[in-house]
Symmetry: C2
Subunit: 443 residues, 2 copies
């Protein structure tokens, strides 16, 4: 029996400091859980002089990452430098040397996950990445263990705190996107370059990771449909409220063939979505994250909490390290496969192209208020097999541009796109139509 | 490497049938996760002729429970008969024979858990009981694994679907307890004898199980303070709404010494509680369950879902069986200790007696509307160091009985009880005072 577990860490930024604090501050309870101490013996970072507010023994800090991943005395290596290179190289190197690894690097896993999963599987080491999705909320572990008996029918996630903060503030204050983005940046909830968050890319990264674990499928990141929140206006939010909806940036995965124990296709997409205002996800405000999972046996489950921040993320990292430590201490190798399913028994799923999905739609047309325009719009929609559920047109202003808002019954995206191509080319239509998909019952 | 995991089950009622359906219906995905099949080879029940809607091979059913727990070919035994005896005897017998066990028997675990945990620990077998708390929601696994790095600062649970359904309906419909209870019984949400649910005992059973895992402390069930919902009236619910609160039956655990990594005392109690109407738990309606956990690192997490029902409960049972199967297949023994902490390194916590707790209080006095009564009440409260936060008295009816409602600032329960003893003895007080504890900020 080993009398301790030795841990090394590459990257000593905000989350790294949180991990060091947690391993130090909770050393007692951690030891009482594991039976042996979890010792952080080596930390590599280019900056080893800045004060992170945590006391470390002499010799722990180094500027040379190789001192971590080449150290044969280490059992587990934590990677927290982010980015593709050299993070991927460091991880593959540590794995090749038989070390277990833990990472929070969602961008890397989303795009290069399969290579890392295969390498870890081949080497018989664990790769922990709970921290890559929804911070400290134990979402990944729930998919692979707590809900393991279920086939996952659908998964809806609010997985990006920045865009949820922006949409929540836009809804509460009725202010435009750019203004609220500036506010979020000032409050530290959005980065100076917020593209990954507001364009939906960060959420799509997390969706790729979730898909792998929920369905045991390799994911080609480029197959995921991604649309950000930059096109959402206060006007659309106001209309959403009138229709009984809230707008959230959702990561969505769902299978259609619910009675088939091995479906062949899955929907996987990220976009602003109108959801019923009284649904549990609609109430997830601010920087909070939540995931609603529907399993064939368990029904609807929701997991909710802070999706980011140094300590919530450190909670996931250290819990992963403890989980791996338990495997090491009991001699369990590859206890839970890296993709939830045995890697040689996975069934790759086709990701349904966005044109083929069916959905309810919110359409906001900007039209010149002239006789016959409404009949023209509905005529084109009807010709494309799109049936209108409700129409809102308010305040007539003869000859001026006014919004006409419609919601549809279930329609095929390809038809919606074709109809809007025609509609947006009409002389009486003065701006491209705004489209927001709706998740909810078709009534 | 074993080429299958053999499972036996004692008890073939509603949940047992759900387990059999899940193991049969999801056999494919389960095998692809584990690498080997999970075979349900023996089921014991007194009734083996009723149709449970699941096809089983010949020879699986038996009326003799010994055929399950004495069968040396079985790896895991599921106990679903409920009650103390013979369930406990069967479990201890299976454990003594080196079998891993899974049970949903919360009443047994709450009262005799320590004996079972010690036996399992000594025999080096796993005991899975996720299904005993909140059905399919992976609450226990989150406490022991996903949030393992945290010290749990507090835990608030809506863990009894029946009483949550009744309180939700009373709030929505403004109808009295007895009427709504009858409605719940008709809808199948309350049993013919609903005592365990409405008296808070079932919730306290779950709290005992949660305490063991959150704090690694043995629990003497009799130390838990338990108060049910039978005393809640539509009038109190209406007042709660006016004060901005909702009434929920909560299971509460919290430590006070938050900076101490090994606290010595914990509050643990079940009672109707007023909570802010806009808090996440307040929105958990009907038969749904939810647990809000605050960890020192992760902050607030909420887990939400169906807390009962055949398939959600079966989800937890089968996920536990799969978890144990993974341990068996990788040779991991006692990978996660039965109480979350190493059994010899636990620190027993004192459960703070209810008289010693501090809380905010809602007090509804029924008084004769006479001059000086209010000053009399507040005088007695003040003399017991209880400071009033707000008072509501409406509709004067000289000389008749009227409600006077107060909320207090933080007060000690012992003082509240002493003051009410005096107050309820006053000639102008015509009924015992109704007390509901409030969880929220003292403003």
């Amino acid at each position: 029996m080993k009398n301790r577990i030795a841990v090394g860490m590459i990257g000593f930024g905000t989350v790294g400091a949180g991990v060091a604090k947690l391993l130090t501050g909770n050393a007692g309870p951690i030891r009482r859980r594991l039976g042996v101490p979890l010792d952080l013996v080596k930390i590599a970072d280019l900056n080893i002089t800045a004060d992170r507010g945590v006391a470390l023994p002499a010799g722990v800090l180094t500027t040379d990452a190789r001192e971590v991943f080449e150290d044969t005395s280490l059992d587990i290596v934590i990677e927290l430098i982010g980015g593709d290179d050299p993070a991927k190289r460091f991880l593959l190197d540590a794995i090749a040397r038989g070390k277990h690894v833990v990472t929070a690097n969602k961008a890397l896993l989303a795009v290069h996950g399969e290579e890392l999963y295969q390498a870890a599987s081949k080497a018989g080491v664990d790769i922990g990445f709970e921290a890559s999705v929804c911070g400290g909320i134990p979402v990944l572990r729930s998919l692979t263990e707590g809900l393991a008996a279920n086939r996952i029918l659908s998964l809806y996630g609010i997985v990006n705190g920045t865009s949820n903060f922006i949409l929540t503030r836009m809804t509460e204050a009725g202010r435009p996107f750019q203004q609220v983005l500036a506010e979020a940046q000032k409050a530290g909830y959005a980065e100076a370059n917020p593209t990954f968050d507001i364009a939906g890319i960060d959420a799509a990264h997390k969706l790729a990771i979730l898909l792998n674990l929920a369905y045991g499928t390799p994911v080609n990141f480029k197959d995921l449909f991604v649309e950000g929140i930059t096109g959402i206006t206060p006007m659309d939010i106001a209309y959403a409220t009138e229709f009984g909806y809230t707008i959230k940036l959702l990561a969505i995965a769902k299978v259609h063939d619910k009675d088939n124990e091995a479906p062949t296709e899955v929907e996987a997409r990220v976009h602003p979505t109108m959801i019923p205002i009284d649904s549990p996800l609609a109430r997830v405000g601010g920087v909070y994250n939540a995931i609603q999972v529907t399993g064939d046996a368990v029904g609807d489950i929701m997991l909710y909490g802070r999706g980011a921040g140094a300590m919530p993320t450190a909670s996931a990292v250290v819990s992963d390290v403890m989980n791996i430590a338990r495997n090491i201490l009991t001699g369990a190798r590859s206890r839970v496969p890296v993709s939830g399913f045995q890697i040689d028994q996975r069934r790759p799923l086709r990701i349904r192209p966005i044109e083929e999905i069916s959905s309810l739609y919110y359409l906001r047309f900007m039209v010149l208020d002239r006789p016959g325009v409404l009949s023209r719009l509905s005529g084109i929609l009807g010709a494309h097999d799109i049936s209108i559920s409700s129409v809102l047109q308010r305040g007539r202003k003869d000859g001026q541009t006014v919004p006409v808002v419609m919601t549809t019954h279930t329609a095929v995206e390809r038809n919606v796109r074709a109809s809007l191509k025609e509609i947006d080319a009409l002389p009486s239509v003065s701006a491209p139509t705004t489209v927001v998909r709706i998740e909810g019952e078709d009534r």
